[in-house]
């Protein structure tokens, strides 16, 4: 019989580790294989080999533990029990967070560099743009949606990786048909619990179009669970189709040099998926490092002053930028977002901030080119009034922090104005600011 650390025991232990069957099948398989190996070793001993050598020869003739375990796993699929399923969901959560962030980050950095300013509305985790954008790329923020809104084709990259490549690879490895895809897909859904509040928030703050976009994205993530299942199923069957032939015609002695081609063809099905996974992971990490470096360099570049940014904005606008003469105490101009060079309609956004986080946003748009004024979100109360004699519309609603948010839309002199705040100012304060903006040709 084989000793405690004999080649046969070691081999069977390796094979057992790779077996993914139920307990009863595993015991039967191991007993059957042990019987074979013991008999083969006994035959080698009878031919004159010592016990250890005989066992080593029997093991060598038996074949790789991984390939044989893989073949047996396909015949004896383990039940997809609750624990296995929960594990799959957990992996889905981890993978979705990790990949979503790792893949979205370079895209967000790339688009930020292209547009020349920080995208979206990062919550200001740090003054460091590389870190802010990293946060923005996580599933906690809206970087991926911003990529979707800006360049849907770019968004396809994380989309395909999350819902096609990963479940496909999992199916390829586990050969459990659609089940890994279901667990993984649900894991991705569970990994995004913020989505429903995000939809509500964006619907109420950003208007129907943005809300619809987010809603469609959320639904897409749910509806693509079957897509992940299909990818997993395909992965399982690709592997079945390409399993190498078990029998091989022996080559004549003159050609029996242990062929590199034969060795490669046997090991390729095992090596190739791993090599692809490692190469993909390395490429993603390299891309992430490059993105971080690029964002750091971008953040360290000399920043144009407010005056320079105002001058840039003015050079791209066909109307004069008008600043309010009156602002609440302690509030001053802190940001100017010029329009792109090829804008149509053209709009400048001005940000005024106080020392305690209070914020005013003023946007001035070429109304004639724009054609229509901004409309209020449907759940806001709307009232009408005037600003320096021009017709104005007030939107009044509750923000997510339950403070009352007031926004004001009006048009004057061919320019559409929008004045909003983060809920830190009353309607009267906003009206005072609006009235102090010199509107129309007479006030230019």
């Amino acid at each position: 019989m084989s000793g405690p650390s004999s080649p046969i025991d070691t081999y069977l232990a390796q094979l057992e580790q790779r077996l993914d069957t139920d307990e009863q099948s595993r015991e039967q398989i191991l007993a059957e294989l042990r019987s074979h190996l013991e008999e083969a070793a006994a035959r080698e001993e009878a031919r004159g080999a010592d016990r250890a050598d005989a066992e080593a020869r029997a093991v060598a003739a038996f074949g790789g533990a991984g390939e044989i375990a893989s073949g047996l796993n396909a015949v004896h699929p383990a039940r997809w029990d609750a624990l296995r399923f929960a594990r799959g969901v957990a992996w889905g959560v981890v993978a979705s967070w990790f990949l979503w962030t790792l893949i979205t980050y370079p895209l967000v950095v790339y688009l930020t560099l292209q547009q020349g300013h920080l995208v979206g509305n990062p919550p200001g985790v740090a003054a460091d743009p590389a870190l802010e954008l990293l946060f923005y790329a996580t599933p906690m923020a809206f970087g991926a949606f911003w990529v979707l809104a800006t360049d849907p084709l770019l968004w396809l990259v994380p989309f395909l990786l999350l819902y096609a490549a990963i479940p496909f690879a999992w199916g390829l490895r586990s050969r459990r048909g659609w089940r890994p895809g279901l667990a993984y897909g649900l894991g991705v859904v569970v990994g995004f619990p913020w989505m429903l509040p995000a939809v509500v928030t964006h619907w109420s703050l950003g208007g129907p179009s943005w809300g619809t976009q987010v809603l469609v994205t959320v639904l897409a993530i749910w509806l693509l669970v079957p897509f992940a299942m299909l990818a997993s199923w395909l992965g399982s069957h690709v592997r079945l189709a390409r399993r190498p032939a078990s029998a091989a015609i022996r080559r004549p002695a003159s050609q029996s040099n242990p062929s590199l081609r034969l060795a490669l063809s046997r090991s390729l099905p095992t090596i190739l998926p791993r090599a692809l996974a490692i190469a993909g992971a390395l490429a993603l990490i390299a891309l992430g490092v490059w993105s971080w470096t690029a964002a750091e360099a971008w953040g360290a570049r000399p920043q144009p002053t407010l005056v320079e940014r105002l001058a840039t904005a003015q050079s791209r606008l066909a109307f004069p930028i008008r600043l309010p003469a009156t602002l609440p105490d302690g509030v001053h101009l802190t940001g100017v977002e010029p329009p792109p060079a090829d804008c149509s309609p053209c709009s400048v956004s001005l940000v005024f901030q106080g020392a305690h986080g209070e914020e005013l946003n003023l946007a001035e748009t070429d109304f004639i080119a724009a054609g229509v004024p901004t409309h209020s979100p449907p759940n806001y109360g709307v009232s009408q009034g005037g600003v320096t004699g021009y017709h104005a519309v007030w939107w009044l609603g509750e923000t997510v922090t339950t403070e009352q948010q007031v926004n004001l839309d009006w048009t004057a002199g061919g320019i559409a104005y929008f004045l909003g705040s983060n809920g830190a100012f009353s309607a009267d304060e906003l009206k005072q600011v609006a009235a102090s903006i010199p509107t129309g040709p007479a006030g230019a």
Partner: protein, 127 residues
């Protein structure tokens, strides 16, 4: 050629089991002996195949001690050896073997008809 080889092992194992019930190690030895060493494969590869045949209802597996195994040379019921898992063909397996042999015969005849009358392949062929 790979598909050709892959398809043939199943038929060969079915045929050996048709001759007599057998267990994995013995099947490997019989294959090697009967093919005079031409068919070479890793022994372990026969087990996924045997289990597949069993799952498909073409073969039936059962455990027996070495000494009381079917046709075991020198079997002694009083002195039981190590237990082995034997396989025997079911009626469905016999039907499958017949179909496979018919298909194989048709295939090999067709190949023979195509290449049988050709001259020896010692030149560079007609251009």
């Amino acid at each position: 050629v790979r598909e050709f080889k892959k398809g043939s092992l199943g038929m060969l194992v079915l045929h050996l089991l048709y001759e007599r019930p057998s267990y994995g190690y013995e099947l490997c030895e019989r294959l090697r002996e009967r093919s005079a060493g031409t068919l070479s494969f890793e022994d372990g590869a026969v087990y996924p195949l045997l289990h597949t045949l069993e799952r498909a209802g073409l073969a039936e597996g059962y455990w027996e001690s070495a000494a009381d195994g079917p046709d075991e040379p020198g079997g002694d019921a009083a002195r039981k050896g190590p237990r082995r898992r034997y396989y025997r063909l079911t009626s469905k397996g016999v039907q499958a073997l017949r179909a496979a042999v018919e298909e194989w015969s048709a295939f090999s005849s067709a190949v023979e008809r195509v290449i049988g009358d050709q001259p020896a392949l010692d030149g560079e062929g007609r251009r």
